[in-house]
């Protein structure tokens, strides 16, 4: 699977349930390569920034505990239809990804 992500949004009376799934190896840097015996370099998402209509609504900073192809879910209140939710992530190597979803 190439580096992709998917966002699913469900609106229940103004409380929006957001689910995000991301393709990412999420190496915590402690695993050993079985052939060489060396540590596989750390490569994991360390920041999520959620924007609502361009405004920062939620910032999560994480370390290497999340597993491969992570799932990220959260709820936002006081949302209206057609609000735009943007999910941005960056990892420790500087790579990043982003996806949008519109509240129904």
């Amino acid at each position: 699977m190439s580096n992709t992500m998917k966002v699913r949004v469900k609106n229940k009376n103004g409380v929006v349930d957001v689910k995000v799934i991301i393709n990412h190896p999420m190496e915590n840097g402690l695993r050993l390569n079985p052939q060489s015996g060396n540590k596989i370099p750390a490569h994991f998402i360390n920041q999520f920034i959620i924007l609502v209509n361009g405004q920062e609504a939620l910032v999560s900073r994480c370390t290497g505990g999340l597993s491969k192809n992570p799932f990220y879910g959260f709820k936002l209140s006081d949302m209206k239809p057609n609000d735009r939710i943007t999910v941005n992530w960056t990892d420790n190597t500087g790579q990043s990804g982003s996806a949008d979803a519109v509240v129904n």
Binding site: M1, S2, T4, K6, K19, I21, N23, S67, K68, F71
Partner: protein, 310 residues
């Protein structure tokens, strides 16, 4: 000198023969059961292919036969020793589930459309004559008369990639797995329907059944050693409890969390053989195809769930 050696040798031969007779006779007297047992196979169980998934021999089918049953009997899962009775089906009825399998379905859809755009004919090859790909996965494995062999879904993808696209989408590779999962997702909710009543499919079913009971590997296990009544099924095998093989194929290919990838059925066979210290074969192997026909018959009538997570 020569005559002495030859007479000694003759006496030696006679003694050898007498010893062999005595040893064999003693064995036959002490262990009569040995004479009847076929050590190459595990004892067989009567499976009626006409019953499909309802022929489940573990007695657990009533717990997971449909969404209603799974919800009704959900309480049996609180005990880790009884969890196996739900056969993992509780994970398939979660409304709004969201996992990397969904990403793989999108990936598969992208791949099919991309290659169809480059070489028109890919889709109609996958559909064996039709570009409507909804529902086709429910009839695999199937016998293809033109090619003269039983094809699994992954084999069809490999064949069409070679024939139409001149590409190598090897069975078990991420490309093949993503497309297979996408095609399966187009049949999500439909019951598996394969015909093993006659012809090459019936022969494949019988061969697969034979392989299911064949003792293999250093540990001398057959598939049946962990997946039939009276075997390890239902009992703990270290931290796990093996469950019934009935109904399993309906959720394959599946996203495997412990492995971090979409796993096709042949890859699962390969992994299990490795764990059982037996020789693992490659995805696409004819032995796996026969086993898949046998296993799919044990899920006949059960609705497909794709994408699934295990």
């Amino acid at each position: 000198m020569l005559s002495l050696s030859s007479s000694l040798r003759n006496r030696g031969r006679i003694m050898k023969i007498l010893t062999l007779i005595a040893v064999t006779a003693l064995h036959a007297i002490s262990y009569p059961a040995l004479a009847e047992t076929d050590f190459n196979t595990h004892p067989r169980f009567d499976i009626d292919p006409k019953l499909g998934v309802a022929g489940d021999f573990s007695g657990t089918y009533k717990y997971w036969k449909d969404t209603q049953a799974i919800e009704q009997f959900a309480s049996i899962q609180t005990n880790s020793d009884n969890e196996w009775k739900m056969n993992g089906k509780n994970m398939d009825i979660v409304e709004d589930d969201f996992h990397p399998g969904h990403l793989a379905v999108d990936e598969g859809e992208k791949l099919v459309n991309l290659w169809e755009h480059r070489e028109a004919g890919f889709k109609s090859c996958l559909g064996a004559g039709t570009t409507t790909l909804e529902g086709i996965a429910a009839n695999y494995p199937m016998y293809d008369a033109k090619l003269g062999k039983v094809l699994t879904l992954e084999a069809r993808i490999e064949h069409c990639a070679k024939k139409v696209l001149w590409q190598n989408f090897k069975q078990g590779s991420p490309v093949n797995a993503s497309i297979a999962l996408y095609l399966k997702s187009l049949s999500d909710g439909l019951p598996i329907q394969i015909d093993v009543d006659s012809g090459p499919m019936k022969e494949a079913y019988l061969r697969g059944e034979t392989l299911f009971y064949k003792r293999i590997g250093q540990l001398n296990f057959a598939c049946a050693s962990c997946h039939t009544p009276g075997s390890i099924m239902g009992n703990r095998l270290r931290g796990e409890v093996p469950s019934t093989p009935f109904g399993d194929v309906s959720h394959y290919p599946t996203y495997r969390s412990p492995v971090g990838e979409v796993e096709v059925l042949h890859k699962r066979f390969m992994r299990c053989l490795k764990q059982m210290r037996a020789k693992p074969l490659k995805p696409g192997d004819p032995a796996y195809v026969d086993l898949e026909v046998f296993y799919t018959s044990m899920s006949n009538g059960y609705p497909i769930k794709a994408p699934s997570i295990r």
